[in-house]
């Protein structure tokens, strides 16, 4: 299953390969944000909020019938939502173990690693951490 994660990351990296500057990258991230299915207002509960972002980010996770983790995410800022869309695309539908252990190299590859610093306000780091936490929790459930 970790091949699937590998494959997804390669796809994303390829997609970002030809952007020449940040405005182009952001344009694409905004598109991804717009394409991500929004979370219903009723599900936007404080308990699903991720802390440490200037914008609000909601992250929900559930285990499907095959034991894989399905993620849903949303944000009131569209760039943050685009980043969330990338994370969902990389990790959703994978087994908990792959989520916990997976090396998310694509983040650095597409130049978003600067956004991972704890001082950045976009919440990408918190998002990654929270997704891994969900992985650990589901793993523990067995």
């Amino acid at each position: 299953m970790s091949e699937l994660l590998q494959q997804r990351q390669e796809e994303i990296a390829e997609e970002f390969e030809f952007f020449e500057d940040w405005m182009e990258r952001y344009e694409h991230i905004i598109e991804l944000g717009k394409e991500l299915d929004p979370i219903a207002e009723a599900d936007k509960l404080d308990e699903h909020l991720i802390r440490g972002c200037q914008s609000r980010v909601w992250l929900l996770a559930a285990k499907d019938g095959d034991g894989n983790v399905q993620f849903r995410a949303d944000s009131d800022a569209i760039i943050t939502k685009g980043l969330a869309a990338l994370m969902v695309r990389a990790l959703s539908g994978l087994p908990p173990a792959v989520i916990v252990q997976g090396d998310l190299w694509f983040i650095e590859k597409i130049g978003l690693d600067a956004h991972l610093s704890p001082t950045r306000a976009n919440g990408l780091r918190s998002m990654v951490q929270q997704m891994k936490h969900y992985g650990i929790a589901f793993q523990a459930q067995g």
Binding site: D21, W22, M23, Y26, E27, I30, Q54, S55, R56, D76, A77, I78, I79, T80, A121, N122
Partner: protein
Amino acid sequence: MSKALDAAALRLQFPILNREVNGKPLVYLDHAASSQKPIAVIEAQREYLMHYHANVHRGVHALSQQATDAFENARTIVQHHIGAEESCETIWTGGATDAINLVAQSWGRAHIGAGDTILITKMEHHANIVPWQMLAEEVGAHVEAVEVLENGALDEEDLAAKLAKGPRLFAFVHVSNTLGTVNDAKALTEQAHAAGATVLIDGCQAVPHMDVDVQDVGCDFYIFSGHKVYGPTGIGVLYGKRMLLEAMRPWRGGGEMIDAVSIENGTTYAGLPHKFEAGTPHISGAIALGVALNWLKGLGAGAVMDHEMMLAAQARKGLSSIEGMRFIGTTSEAAGVVSFVIEGTHPYDIGTLLDSQGVAVRTGHHCTQPLMERYGIPGTVRASFGVYNTLQEVDTFVAATVKAVRMLRG
């Protein structure tokens, strides 16, 4: 009319403004968070560290005396800059936040007790809210805040009603960092004094933009930080009336602030201003802040204000063409702040897209969450101007904002 500033020429004195950000020339519009430093200030710190660094007030050797002279000379510069009667009324602090905490913990603990009220306003920076809440919690007092009108002005009626209840202290911001509102410090001080309240003014956003004369204003305490007025970080100023400062207990104990220390007989404290300056101070910071204030004075306060008003007016004019534009704080452009939200966009998105075009603005709540709550918004985009900003930069900022909005709405 004062002589107009030549911002293009002034920029040459700011080395940092030559750099690029994300491949674009830097347009720095975050002056209200921290100003960039002119070469004179950078050199003053360097000169001190290269040639006469030593601890102050205690050595008999040449370096220590030279450092002490420069350090105390800087205090005199501050005194004259804000019109204090005596130099001992200006205390060096670690910053504006530190200065407010000093007043809260020293004056506050002696004068505010159970059941007392501390009056602030809804446009205060967290630094002028939280120290009072902490004090109130400790002594059983409570904090009240004067309402802010839709245009960003203080609600006069609410102020009168809250002053009539006899608060012990009225602590308010001279110029709002989020709204740009310029409060009439003198009139508010008179009103508060008439109601029997002691007055503390947060002047962080006033000193960089206008002439301040604490004796004319008549306030009891006035504070500002160094790094927002072209000086270094880690240094700030507390002005207090001598009578009040003399009666106050030191807040922090240590070296430098003592007269004599004895285990058996206890300790007696130094006089003003040293009794509030425990430990080795930020010597290079104080010296460079003196240089910064002299440098600013050389430009002429009238010219500084005119220039920044012109930039703010141009920014508002340009931004007005954007559909769904809502300016937050519309009373005055004097402080060189333009704060706004744009319908259907998040401040964070605008700020990120501006950054990738080389334009530095602040987004978020600007440490004024109660104000954001009052307007029912999560935050704003804030452009704030300094003497080195040009009309051309304002145009770049407006064009970059238009582009960002187009991308976000796309």
